[in-house]
């Protein structure tokens, strides 16, 4: 029972972590908390769904196509909505992403309708490990999530683009002076973030069903995961996402399914009270 909940907790937590990484990537480079992230992911998931059902593509073809679409969407949003006002106050940028959230959601409703669809899982069936019943798709989700994170961290650490991203997140002005094309970095982070969101969306859709509002709660969770782990590091959201996923699963299993988010949030507020900068965050103190 506990093992079962742990595994499915890790699986959902991993997905929160993916979405949260997307948020943190953008936040660290351009200080924007992208509230439209969830809706963008929902849209990409719908693209996958439509190509599968209406054009008869296979799961993986649709998957790849959705990711391509997500990259284009991420690029467009950054280039045409965020870049023109990149020097505006942070709160204004946040409101712009709120506006985007409404627009993307509206267009999705227009294009795909408001019905709920069932989205296929990668694999069906269950496994029995040590007496715990674990769904194969949960396990595979977990594996793929870990794999993607591995690639992402490898890129951030060793590739030129990754180094440029990290430099920009430390100090955009100096990065610019060092010859880094900061605007390209912004584009890349929005593209990568959008892709991460789309992957999370397509893995979450089988469990929550696909409709235009499916991602709003996931976005909340991703945001929470990012804050819980710390907005200032790339490891933070992963830790935060996993903790949140496990907490939620355990709370719904042992306390109350209806109040699972309440308990998760209560615990998070307590944790933040103890360590206000997130679990892996560092305090940036002000000097006088």
């Amino acid at each position: 029972m506990l093992l079962q909940q742990l595994i499915s907790g890790f699986a959902t937590g991993g997905l929160y972590a993916l979405a949260a990484l997307g948020l943190v990537l953008i936040y660290k480079t351009s200080d924007v908390v992208n509230f439209a992230q969830g809706e963008m992911a929902m849209f990409s998931t719908f693209i996958a769904y439509t190509t599968m059902t209406s054009y008869g593509m296979s799961y993986w073809e649709a998957f790849i196509l959705a990711l391509l679409f997500a990259s284009v969407l991420g690029f467009i949003v950054e280039r045409f909505f965020i870049r023109p006002i990149q020097n505006a106050p942070v709160l204004s940028l946040l409101i712009v992403t709120l506006g985007l959230m409404m627009i993307v959601n509206g267009i999705a409703g227009w294009a795909f309708g408001f019905e709920t669809h069932s989205f296929p899982a990668i694999v069906g069936g269950e496994l029995k490990i040590f007496g715990a019943v674990i769904s194969k798709s949960n396990l595979l989700t977990l594996v793929i999530t870990v794999f993607i994170m591995g690639i992402l961290f490898y890129m951030l650490k060793y590739t030129l683009a990754g180094i440029a991203i990290r430099a920009t997140s430390e100090n955009p002005t100096i990065a610019r002076l060092m010859g880094i094309a900061v605007n390209h970095v912004y584009s890349i982070t929005w593209v990568v973030s959008s892709i991460l969101g789309a992957i999370a969306g397509m893995f979450i859709a089988p469990t929550t069903f696909l409709d235009v509002n499916m991602m709003s709660s996931v976005l909340l969770k991703a945001f929470t995961a990012a804050v819980l782990g710390g907005f200032t590091t790339f490891v933070g959201p992963v830790v935060g996402g996993l903790i949140l996923g496990v907490l939620e699963n355990i709370a719904s299993g042992y306390i109350s399914a209806q109040l699972s988010s309440t308990f998760a949030f209560a615990l998070i507020v307590i944790m933040l009270w103890i360590k206000p900068t997130g679990l892996v965050g560092q305090k940036v103190g002000k000097k006088v």
């Binding site: 408001f114 507020v269 933040l272 206000p276 900068t277």
Partner: protein
Amino acid sequence: MNAKKYISWIVLILIATLIPPILNLPGSLQYLLDLSLIYAIVAIGLNLLMGYAGQISLGHGAFLAVGAYTSAYLTLTLHVPFFIALILSGLITGIVGILLGLPALKLEGNYLAIATLGFGVAVTQIFAIWTSFTGGFSGIKPLKPELFGFKFNSYLSYYYIILILTIVLVILTWNIIRTKVGRSLMAMRDSEIAAKAMGINVSYYKTLAFGLSAFYTGIAGSLYAHLLGFMTPYDYAFSIGMSLNFLAMIVIGGIGTISGSIIGAIIMTWLPQITSNLPIKSLSQIITGAIIIAVVIFYPNGIAYAGARLKDKFEKLFAKHQEKIVVKIEK
């Protein structure tokens, strides 16, 4: 306040008083007018917290719920008269606000946002299962207010209760922000360190800002409950979505201004209505989103400053023109 500003407020109040009976709006539009003033009260409260005290909240929908259900409970179950229930709802929500303000003492920016967001989610979840208090999914029916035997049954008569309260709250807010409390809040927003050195107890004022903001929202919540006549915890006005809408109201209208709060509330309440007759179901949402973005891009300080900016532009244009003339003369 100078005379010009004074007069323009009086004209505004006159318009707000006279227009509804003259236009004789259909019920649904009068309802919307009532609603926009209620939201204006919330926006003023939120602006006190964000625009003046510099604290963020993504949970004001939950404060609205606390105010609404407190008022409903007081009037329906305890048979407290409406106007007393109204004040009590404000006070009780204010106390809840103070409690939420406590984590704010240690948290900043995104971390505070998440704590308030968590509060918002928790309140709606708790209210949904606390059926003895909220009636749950089957809802409850708050009574129409009554004063000296007169029942405020119509949306129009109720409008005047809301209008008077809005005016009173605007005056109180105006007084608060230009005296000691307001100055302390703004000082804390601009530099916490200097504020401390100037003798401002930052913890006290942060908590106070949350309490005050929640008080306004509680009053609005009570008004909202008795406007609805039927409510459930699943009402959109209590959701996180609405909390984000409140945020959009003050950013669009103007952070740190009272007039901006009112303008923003009116726009955000009427925009979906105005665009709802369009042929495509979700087009109103798309247009609302687009207008929000357009306002932020073209009026980064909010619409309340749009007038000032136009004047400024005009003056600059004129000044440039003058300069050119001077240059010509010198030549």
